[in-house]
């Protein structure tokens, strides 16, 4: 575990309002009680013929999650096969527990990446990973719930913000016939933990989610108790990424595919989205996001778990 990731874990455990550590302490055994439901035996008992509706729902939930079991975590070469299996089972267990704690969300792809990042941050401690992801989903569940209201609101915000803040990028997008939906789903639904993004972007986004000062009036207007985590700052991170990549996006505006290829060019992203450049772009993007309190209130509401 890198020290930077360790400090991020400490930030999430200690940050007032997130209080993951408190959740772990105040809910002894909750995770443990939910986790055994993922056992292989339970999975096999529920073969689809069960009349119990809740069992059927749970069975489907587990089946959906298991499809992504091997398609989420990146393992280093030093990680043994048994350790990989243990980590992936922990991931499945956490996602099944979340699906039961937040049945209105259930399971949506992208949550696997978020839970995977939260678990890696906490060195695969199931309880801490569970409550960190739960805290994120309380404020960002609208990205994943049926109908994806948070995602729709985020796309609408980006469609307005990009021409205002980055007119050259907006012009290039128009020339290439590109809308934010085409590149931002992977960013938003993984909360910037997507493979295509540098690790420092993920870390900066998650640091801001746990620590940025969200205007209390906007939170109150949205009916949100407490002010953290600020999952909406993922939109500012998206804007910052576009700002860093702006010099490459204009020349790539020859067609849709050429434009979108910029977001899959690892070398180019590594060069253009280096930590200092991203930090320089991220701070004003957060300021811009927080400046319009009416828009922010709408975003907080749409992002919140239904």
């Amino acid at each position: 575990m890198l020290s930077a990731e360790r400090s991020l874990a400490e930030l999430w455990l200690a940050t007032d309002g997130v209080a993951v550590a408190n959740l772990v302490v105040k809910n002894p055994g909750v995770a443990a009680a939910l986790l055994p439901s993922t056992s292989k035996a339970r999975d096999e008992v529920n073969d689809g013929d069960d009349d119990d509706v809740s069992d059927e729902v749970l069975h489907k939930l587990i089946a959906k999650i298991r499809r992504d079991k091997h398609r989420t975590l990146s393992h280093g070469r030093e990680v043994s096969a048994s350790e990989r299996e243990a980590r992936e089972e922990t991931l499945v267990a956490v996602l099944v527990a979340l699906g039961q704690l937040l049945p209105q969300i259930g399971y949506c792809q992208g949550m696997n990446m978020v839970a995977g990042y939260a678990l890696a941050m906490h060195n695969f401690d199931a309880e801490r990973g569970l409550w960190t992801t739960w805290a994120v989903l309380r404020r960002g569940g609208g990205l994943y719930a049926p109908g994806m209201p948070g995602f729709d609101a985020g796309m609408a915000w980006l469609a307005t913000a990009i021409p205002t803040v980055l007119p050259a990028v907006a012009a290039a997008m128009a020339a290439a016939d590109v809308v934010p939906l085409m590149f931002a789903s992977a960013w938003l639904h993984t909360l910037m933990s997507h493979d295509s993004l540098p690790a420092h972007v993920t870390r900066a986004t998650w640091t801001a989610m746990a620590s940025a000062e969200l205007p209390p009036q906007a939170c109150a207007a949205a009916g949100a108790t407490g002010s953290r985590p600020h999952v909406v700052v993922v939109l500012a991170a998206a804007l910052a990424l576009l700002a860093c990549l702006e010099p490459a996006l204009g020349p790539a505006a020859v067609d849709t595919m050429a434009f979108l290829s910029v977001f899959r060019d690892d070398e180019l992203i590594k060069t253009m989205v280096e930590p200092a450049a991203f930090a320089r772009a991220f701070a004003p993007a957060v300021d811009f996001l927080f400046a319009d309190q009416a828009a922010l209130t709408q975003l907080i509401s749409a992002f919140a778990a239904p």
Binding site: H70, C108, Q109, M148, D177, A186, D255, M257
Partner: protein, 210 residues
């Protein structure tokens, strides 16, 4: 041509795409979030180069609101199921309805039974899938992204069919004296036919498809 890859989660859509465009396969590929894409050009028997833009979509139902936006500009769809998971075949009908609701009327559809290397785990019989395809007027093939069997054939076949269809329509249109085809709302739906001697970077001779 714009082609979409659709079908249930974990049937192997992304690996079919990576096998076709980069000749790569990974057992550890990540689940697709939203929409991914890739391009590749192939040559036809009459010496044309067809440039394919392929959208690879997330299979989970919740993403359909996002991914269905891509059907509108597509002229072809590979509807993929897993021969070792019956549910993924049962859901093919729902995917066809998605296409009927959101795609162009004349979209070319091919049913693709993937993971044909998993012979010992097969639960969807080839004859059943063939019969389904016939009933619904779509073509059918079985593939394995893992061992590469029929992957090239699947993509080449659908691209060639689209090319033939577009060429026929273009000729009919010319014969009718209009000389023009219906404009599309989305640039991504442009049919791009490039002369064989030109590479992808060269300016393409563009036609609009119907």
């Amino acid at each position: 041509y714009t082609v979409v890859l659709i079908g249930d989660s974990a049937v192997g859509k992304s690996n079919l795409l990576s096998r076709f465009t980069r000749d790569e396969f990974s057992l550890e590929s990540k689940s697709t979030i939203g929409v991914e894409f890739a391009t590749r050009s192939i040559s036809t028997d009459d010496g044309k180069v067809l440039k394919a833009q392929i959208w690879d979509t997330a299979g989970q139902e919740r993403y359909r609101a996002i991914t269905s936006a891509y059907y509108r500009g597509a002229v072809g769809a590979l509807l993929v199921y897993d021969i070792s998971k019956y549910e993924t075949f049962s859901n093919v009908e729902r995917w066809l309805k998605e296409l009927r609701d959101h795609a162009e009327n004349h979209i070319e559809v091919m049913l693709v039974g993937n993971k044909s290397d998993l012979r010992h785990l097969r639960v969807v019989m080839t004859e059943d899938a063939e019969a389904f395809a016939q009933e619904n007027g779509i073509s059918f093939i079985e593939t394995s992204a893992l061992d590469a069997s029929n992957v090239e054939e699947a993509f080449s076949s659908i691209l060639t069919k689209i090319y033939e269809k577009v060429s026929r329509k273009s000729m009919n249109s010319d014969a009718a004296g209009s000389g023009k085809t219906k404009p599309m709302a989305n640039n991504a739906s442009k049919v791009i036919v490039v002369d064989n001697e030109n590479d992808d970077a060269a300016p393409a001779k563009k036609k609009k498809c119907c």
